[in-house]
Amino acid sequence: MPVQTLIEAVTAALREEMARDSNVILLGEDVGVHGGVFRATDGLHKEFGSERVIDTPLAELGIAGIAIGAAMNGLVPVAEIQFADYIHPAFDQIVNEAAKIRYRSNGAFSCPIVVRAPFGAGVHGGLYHSQSVEALFYHVPGLKIVIPSTPYDCKGLLKAAIRDPDPVLFFEHKKSYRRIKGEVPDEEYTLPLSVADVKREGSDISVITYGVGVHLALEAADKIAAEGVSVEVLDLRTIVPMDKAAIARSVAKTSKVLIVHEDNKTGGVGAEIAATIVEDHFELLDGPILRVAAADTHIPYAPTLEEAVIPNVDDVLAALRRLAAY
């Protein structure tokens, strides 16, 4: 099987879906002639033309609004927000319009948009090129949120997101764009949304995570295996709606849970996962549910400070050891 980077998987998914369905269009800042600041749409403008790969003004509210309007009129837009840090002007369109259209029209209209956005820290992007924004949308009914961790997942999930009849936020961790490589089959495939994936089987502790957290967890699991602790890594892949059955299976197996994400701890996705487990599976627990997450502050520009704020393998290892000893 050919090996691809995560960004190559994004491009491949977009290309295949555009070839499959002429209603699929791309829009965003510099996605056309330039091919995107991260090269996610590289070559697509040449291949599909400026009618279907649209360079927009620097106005995220407009990008989201145009995508929503086009979706309600039969197109399948994939909007790119250049950095997730800039999605905030589009918040109103996404939350007040896209998320509500099906409900508001009693099912007469739907809003099959995908909003792609690179997010996350670890590349010295500073305050405005490092944010994790999933928790801001996590709270909103009517939105699906996908965060892939591997090229294989990324391609299959993005294709599924484009085919999904409702709005999907597709957040791609920019640090994993070129660092994470993996086998991606040439054959056509999609992966179902809202299905988690056990990235590593284990029996003592479950790490529930997504995005780059998966790679931190896998590395930490390798290290602590030498200490006789068996760690299971559950990659949620879709954080809303999350795969509660997979979480339940893993908790029943290990009875101890660590949640890892790069977003801030307070009010983060991990809080919801922990609360759900305690509500539904209290009597499966043999220890406290721990979270490893970013400190509740902004992502600093200085590399040393950035490294201190976001979670790393040592943070995950320390939490695993604490749980193992409990």
């Binding site: 059955a245 029943a252 499966l284 627990l285 409990y326």
Partner: protein
């Protein structure tokens, strides 16, 4: 340096109190005058503040238990002793116990149970199963609940995770019998599974709980593995509940009211009387004043202040009804403190208007409203609820036309004001439509007799009927 908190005397006739709620747990810091617990006596929750600052060393009486006035409830320490870790519980650890505890306790069980936490316990140098760093194990409010049969130095119930507790109860395992390998000697899942396996306690089910179904629900427990529940909740007096019965647990207030009612009926031979009062002029007066009153005072003018005032003045004429019984004689009360019954969410409270005879009608209206509002909000204080000398109950508000009220001990009587209804009555040999109301009196027949009681009732009647256009509110 420790301070003992005892059950206070919360009212003149109060001999005991029930612990409603502990507001601090053992080990928690408490400031002077900060509320420590809620005590329930006759129909009231009273917050008991801590007389000293310190750390709650231990709680002697659990919630829901009733103890006499003066009984030891809790110990507040200066924080030094509480910081010491309790002994690790492996039996035969060679720990030497302190000889005696300090401070008396009323509950022997409790004393034995908590003796080791009182003072620093030297850790045995050898033999302890878990010589890991001792972690202060929080002692829950379990005093007197369980006593291990283990050797001296047993520390009582261990902290355990939800999973371990479930496995223990499913397999009938006593956690204190397992040496824990977890943090601070905690019994881990692996520990208890190994123990169950070693015992072969429940064949075929010792293992990881089955995976939940796809719906994500917590897996059902295998039926065969569940022993009959040990010592189900005591239903002694309720007996075996039938399929068409439901047991509603008693709230502390319900229990207090029940106790008080039984005591009152058993204490005082109740006799009853009733008079019929023509309140037509009073109804007219109130209707005329309603709008102006509401504009001026901001709340509804009710009939209660008029009734209370009439009762108070009648009590001045019949002091024997403003009294209490004693074996040495009838104790007359110089002050007239009128209790007014207020229905609240889970029962009834009877707060008191002090020196009701010194208030105008407007003053009584404000007093009645204040007590009703605070009563419904649960914000009455112990002071509001004690010292009553007579009780007025506005049962008419509930639509009643006659009642047989029960005396609020240790008072001499209680009067109910019933519903005001328009009735055809004979006036000057003609039939007239008048607003009529019954007033019912229950009195302690030990203290007085029907003649005096009816004189009192007639006096109330005369005063209520005398209200009219010239009545001054202020």
């Amino acid at each position: 340096m420790s301070t003992t908190i005892s059950m206070p005397q919360l009212g003149e006739s109060v001999a005991e109190g029930t612990i409603g709620k502990w507001l601090k747990a053992p080990g928690e810091r408490i400031e002077r005058d900060e509320p420590l617990l809620e005590v329930i006596t006759d129909k009231v929750n009273a917050e008991i503040p801590s007389p000293v600052a310190g750390v709650v060393e231990r709680i002697v009486v659990p919630e829901g238990q009733t103890v006499p006035v003066g009984a030891e409830l809790a110990i507040i320490g200066d924080g030094v002793a509480a910081a010491e870790p309790p002994a690790e519980g492996a039996s035969g650890s060679g720990s030497e116990l302190p000889s005696e505890t300090t401070g008396p306790t009323t509950l022997e069980d409790a004393e034995a149970q908590v003796a080791t936490s009182q003072e620093q316990v030297p850790q045995g140098p050898s033999g302890a199963a878990s010589s890991a760093a001792p972690v202060a194990i929080q002692r829950e409010g379990e005093v007197g609940a369980r006593r291990s049969d283990g050797a001296d130095g047993d520390e009582g119930p261990k902290r355990a995770s939800p999973l371990v507790r479930r496995l223990a109860s499913e397999h009938g395992v006593d956690l204190s019998q397992i040496a824990g390998s977890g943090l601070g000697g905690r019994v881990t899942k692996d520990d208890i599974l190994a123990h169950i396996e070693a015992q072969g306690a429940t064949p075929g089910s010792a293992g990881v709980p089955p995976a939940p179904d796809e719906a994500g629900g917590t897996p059902a427990l295998p039926a065969a593995a569940v022993p009959p529940p040990a010592a189900a909740a005591p239903l002694a007096s309720a007996g075996q509940l039938g399929p068409d019965e439901e047991l509603v647990p008693l709230t502390p207030m319900r229990r207090a009211i029940a106790e008080h009612m039984v005591r009152s009926i058993q204490t005082s031979p109740h006799a009853w009387g009733m008079v019929e009062i023509d309140v037509t002029p009073l109804v007219g007066l109130r209707e005329r004043l309603l709008r102006e009153w509401r504009a001026r005072e901001g709340f509804e003018l009710t009939f209660m202040p008029f009734f209370v005032k009439a009762v108070v003045e009648a009590l001045r004429e019949s002091p024997v009804l403003n009294a209490r019984w004693s074996d040495q004689g009838v104790v007359l009360k110089r002050r007239v403190n009128v209790g007014v019954a207020v229905a609240v969410a889970d029962g009834l409270v009877v707060p008191v208007i002090r020196d009701a005879d010194q208030r105008s009608l407007a003053g009584l209206a404000h007093a009645v409203r204040d007590l009703a509002v605070r009563g419904r909000a649960g914000r009455l204080t112990m002071d509001d609820l004690q010292g009553g000398t007579f009780t007025v109950n506005n049962t008419g508000a509930l639509g009643s036309i006659a009642s047989g009220p029960i005396i609020n001990q240790p008072q001499a009587g209680i009067i109910t004001m019933e519903a005001i209804v328009k009735r055809p009555v004979v006036r000057d040999d003609a039939i007239a439509i008048r607003s009529m109301m019954n007033a019912c009196l229950a009195f302690d027949h030990r203290i007085t007799d029907g003649a005096e009681a009816l004189r009192f009732l007639q006096s109330v009647k005369r005063r209520v009927e005398a209200y009219g256009p010239d009545t001054a509110l202020y």
